[in-house]
């Protein structure tokens, strides 16, 4: 029985236990509900929890452990020459073949399966099993070695046993829990308190998902990055100026001969982000100033949602706009005035990305400017300053730390942005100062290294994780610093 069937069974058991619990607690006082400590539903939930929770934990732990344990059992049973003790790649290849045979075995008929069993136990020659498997299309290509068939047969049996075992154990646990809960139900039982403690534990569990996600990101990326640095020196990655990963055909030796220099990618990322900020910061900041200091409530109520539409448009749409409309437009305009602008130039990606982050800059700055106390403005007016003088000389300096924070947050968005640059920036790593040429970015390379067929042991794939880690660290540092500035500034006026 599969795990999902067990879960379904537990769900039904919970519903039944809930009803039994209610009936039982009513019966325990002879139908006088007022004598119960908690309301009847809590007794039902109490019994349902006792029935399901232990069995559920058991099932989940079992499901997580099953795969590695079976794998280990199969691995240890292999003959030494096949196991390739020192060769990870060979081992995973062998296990892959065993798996594919094991998946095919249950599709055989009863009598055919018997043949395999006999072969495994030595009653019939292995040859017969080999022929049968090939006839039925379980194995394509080369004839499998006898030990593969044996191991696959063992695997099927293990799986079969395991699934029966867990079904039985889960049922047993559910029954035991039910019986225990059932005997506990009496009028004095504090059912509500127990149920609420379980609910609270569930709430705490839910809030730790955020931590688990961060831990998951850090560990998964870190683990693969360490893997990567085993084949490529750390120094070459962080300080290399040449990016040339050289895809080699699968399985060929010497796949590590590519060069993985981070610098050109980092430069491209920063260059495009810089252009984006050069567009977004003036426009966003001036919009924010106008909206918070000059615009009337009516105009504000009309313009602010429109600006926020820009933030709500998916980045793929911006990428498309850059690719199909803006890039060619810029190239043609450049050609008209005699400039040679590549269609996927730094300017194209940068300007479109700038449009995307205008609303970030403007809405954050808007909040920060509005938070500057009115008394500062009034003091300035009182001295005879005009409105713009007040804004430039009083409001903006007061809001400056917050605005810097907002710009940093926008920069982190720009650095981590993917779809615009995937569609509109170049793919060739290029260390150039010319904004009319094309460069590539970290995110573009993560995407291009990870789409298509993956081979998880080659540095060509693993480098994506090293790039991802770099990206994560940069954006995290920017965010933490920006939030720190913004928060510190906010406290100043509160």
């Amino acid at each position: 029985m599969s795990t999902s069937m067990i879960l379904l069974g537990l769900l039904i058991a919970a519903a039944l236990a809930y009803i039994v619990g209610i009936v039982r607690c009513r019966a325990s006082t002879g139908g006088d509900v007022a004598k119960l400590h908690s309301r009847t539903g809590y007794y039902g939930s109490y019994l349902a929890i006792w029935t399901v929770l232990p069995a559920l934990f058991l099932t989940i732990i079992w499901a997580a452990a099953e795969q590695p344990v079976i794998r280990h059992l199969v691995e240890t049973s292999l003959p030494a020459h096949a196991a390739g003790v020192e060769n990870d790649a060979l081992m995973s290849l062998t296990l892959g073949r065993i798996n594919s045979v094991a998946e095919g075995l249950p599709k055989l008929s009863q009598s055919e399966f018997k043949t395999i069993e006999n072969a495994r136990l030595g009653f019939t020659p292995m040859l017969e099993a080999q022929r049968l498997l090939q006839e039925k299309g379980v194995i394509l290509g080369a004839e499998p070695e006898p030990y593969i068939i044996s191991a696959a047969y063992d695997e099927v049996i293990y799986r079969h046993t395991s699934s029966w075992l867990i079904t039985g154990l889960a049922a047993l646990a559910a029954l035991a829990g039910f019986v225990y809960g059932f005997t506990q139900i009496r009028p004095r039982l504090r059912a509500r308190n127990t149920v609420e403690r379980v609910v609270l534990a569930a709430l705490i569990g839910a809030s730790t998902v955020a931590i688990l996600t961060t831990v998951g990101i850090v560990f998964s990326v870190l683990f693969e990055t360490i893997h990567f640095f085993q084949s490529v020196p750390t120094f070459d990655f962080f300080f290399g100026t040449v990016w040339d990963p050289r895809f080699t055909s699968a399985g060929r030796e010497g796949g590590a001969s590519g060069q993985f220099g981070l610098l050109p990618l980092l430069w491209g990322t920063l260059f495009i982000s810089f252009v984006a900020l050069a567009v977004a910061v003036p426009i966003g900041l001036y919009s924010a100033i106008y909206m918070s200091e000059y615009a009337g409530p009516k105009f504000r109520g009309f313009a602010k949602p429109l600006l926020e539409i820009l933030a709500g448009i998916p980045t793929i749409v911006y990428g498309l706009f850059a690719l199909i409309t803006f890039g060619p437009f810029l190239r043609d305009t450049g050609a008209m005035v005699g400039l040679d602008i590549a269609a996927s130039s730094v300017l194209t990606a940068g300007i479109v990305m700038g449009i995307m982050i205008i609303p970030f800059v403007s809405s954050l700055s808007d909040d920060i400017i509005s938070a500057v106390p009115q008394s500062l403005r009034e003091g300035s007016y009182g001295l005879g300053a005009t409105k713009s003088e007040t804004i430039r000389k009083v409001v903006l300096p007061a809001a400056l730390p917050g605005i810097v924070g907002a710009v940093l947050l926008a920069a982190s968005r720009a650095i981590g942005e993917t779809m615009i640059v995937v569609l509109a920036a170049g793919i060739a790593a290029n260390l150039t100062l010319n904004p009319f040429e094309s460069v590539t970015t970290i995110t573009v390379k993560i995407v291009s290294q990870l789409t298509g067929d993956l081979e998880f042991n080659s540095p060509q794939t693993l480098v994506a994780f090293a790039l991802g880690l770099t990206l994560f660290v940069i954006t995290l540092a920017l965010n933490v610093y920006a939030l720190y500035i913004v928060r510190k500034y906010r406290e100043q006026y509160e």
Binding site: V221, I313, I316, E389, F472, T475
Partner: protein, 438 residues
């Protein structure tokens, strides 16, 4: 910039601050500053208009597709197998392309076309024509033996000509359609047999290498599955986490860590979530690549902070007096939460959920990492089947070279934006309708 310095200089010179020339300069600066602000806002809104204009003007034609009406003669002989029987198998393998070409040939009144003419005829029809005719017969077998009118797809080039993206005046050798084909097309138009119709195929076809038979169906189903998973995973977890943090959490290091984590997760680049999905869900847990289940899980983790932050705001907006009243009549904290606070916060939670779903629906980058860039022809029936998502489909079409795909890409973008618009409108409507002032 100069004005304040001027003011100071003026003061130093002993000039009056209200010297008319000076005031004039200061007011001019004031006016300029205001104009900069308005100008910046104008530029931002101008970009918005240009963006929408360029997408809609290039994309709306994707909702129309050129079709040709053929009178297809379905002779029984064409459907019989070697034994003279008409079976499901023999219907499946019949030569529909030839029937379509013959029908087109007789419509155009060609007696015995030469070999190049035959090729030109075929060039007018889409390669998906055989499937269209076959579907017609499989849905109703009684038409065999009759001549039935069928609207079939015209070739992508014909479609491009009708929509005006191929210029009739380009010299024949550089035009995708030759003069003979143009004459045929004109004849078909004159007979009312060739016209643009609403493009249902855009919503019912899966992946295809021909633009005219490429559709969004697989992507729509995939996106639907993913939204479902996000709603089932991110929303309960997010609401539970927010409830804990707002109503129960003591102020200690553990809850501080959670808060910092949530804020940081909200700012982690989405592509990093894709790496997480690849390493954990696919590599470690062994879930299938290209499945919408993995996509949904990754998007759930990504939207979780949005849902948590929105729910916390909604819970915080419920006034403390409600809680105190509930506690005062003897409710436990848990009862207060589930019976009073959460129901009152529901509109806000719903709005936050929709905003999270909007974010998830438009997200592309993490899905590229976990293999949702796949050429999927068959409709996925479960979240474990290979699928794509709407924005990923846009990305894949954007990378296709053929002209017809540009239009499809923009059309798909319009579809995506429509979905987002409707969801956002729903969020605004909910907020307006249930907004409460305490």
């Amino acid at each position: 910039m100069a004005t304040t310095q001027d003011t100071l200089h003026a003061a130093a010179d002993g000039r009056k601050l209200n010297d008319p020339a000076m005031l004039k300069r200061r007011y001019a600066a004031e006016w300029r500053f205001k104009a900069y602000g308005l100008g910046a806002l104008g530029i931002a809104l101008f970009f918005l208009v240009v963006l929408f204009y360029s997408i809609i003007s290039q994309g709306w034609t994707a909702f129309l597709q050129t079709n040709i009406k053929l009178d297809v003669a379905l002779n029984e002989a064409d459907f019989q197998d070697a034994d003279g029987q008409i079976t499901e198998q023999s219907i499946r393998v019949a030569d529909y392309t030839k029937m379509a070409r013959d029908a087109l040939q007789s419509t155009l009144g060609l007696e015995s076309p030469t070999r190049p003419e035959k090729r030109d005829l075929r060039g007018l029809l889409s390669r998906g024509v055989d499937v269209q005719i076959r579907n017609k017969i499989e849905s109703d077998r009684s038409v065999i033996g009759q001549t039935v009118p069928v609207w079939v797809l015209a070739n992508g080039e014909v479609d491009a000509l009708i929509k005006g993206s191929i210029d009739r005046n380009t010299p024949e050798e550089r035009r995708q359609l030759n003069n003979k084909q143009l004459a045929w097309i004109d004849k078909l138009i004159a007979e009312g047999r060739l016209e643009k119709q609403f493009n249902t195929g855009l919503f019912t076809y899966g992946a295809s290498s021909q633009p005219e038979t490429a559709g969004l169906a697989v992507a729509l189903i995939g996106s639907f599955f993913m939204m479902l998973i996000v709603a089932l995973v991110a929303v309960p977890i997010g609401v539970a986490a927010a409830a804990y943090l707002e109503e129960f959490a003591p102020k200690n290091t553990f809850t501080d860590i959670i808060e910092v984590n949530i804020n940081n997760l909200a700012a982690v680049p989405s592509i990093v979530f894709g790496l997480l999905g690849l390493a954990v869900f696919i590599n470690f847990m062994g879930l299938p690549r290209s499945a919408s289940l993995v996509g949904g899980l990754v998007l759930s983790l990504m939207t979780l902070p949005t849902v948590i932050i929105a729910t916390r705001a909604a819970i915080r907006a419920v006034p403390p007096s409600i809680r105190e009243a509930a506690l005062g009549v003897g409710a436990s904290k848990m009862q207060t939460l589930f019976h009073h606070v959460l129901p009152l916060a529901l509109p806000g939670i719903l709005t936050g959920t929709i905003i999270g779903l909007v974010q998830a629906l438009g997200e592309t980058a993490p899905l590229l990492m976990i293999g949702l860039v796949a050429f999927v022809v068959d409709y996925p029936t479960t979240p474990l089947d290979p699928a794509t998502a709407l924005p990923v489909q846009i990305y894949m079409w954007a990378s296709s070279a053929e002209r017809g795909f540009v239009e499809r890409t923009m059309g798909a973008t319009i579809v995506l934006l429509m979905f987002l618009f409707v969801m956002n409108a729903a969020a605004v409507y909910l907020r307006r309708k249930f907004e409460r002032k305490w």
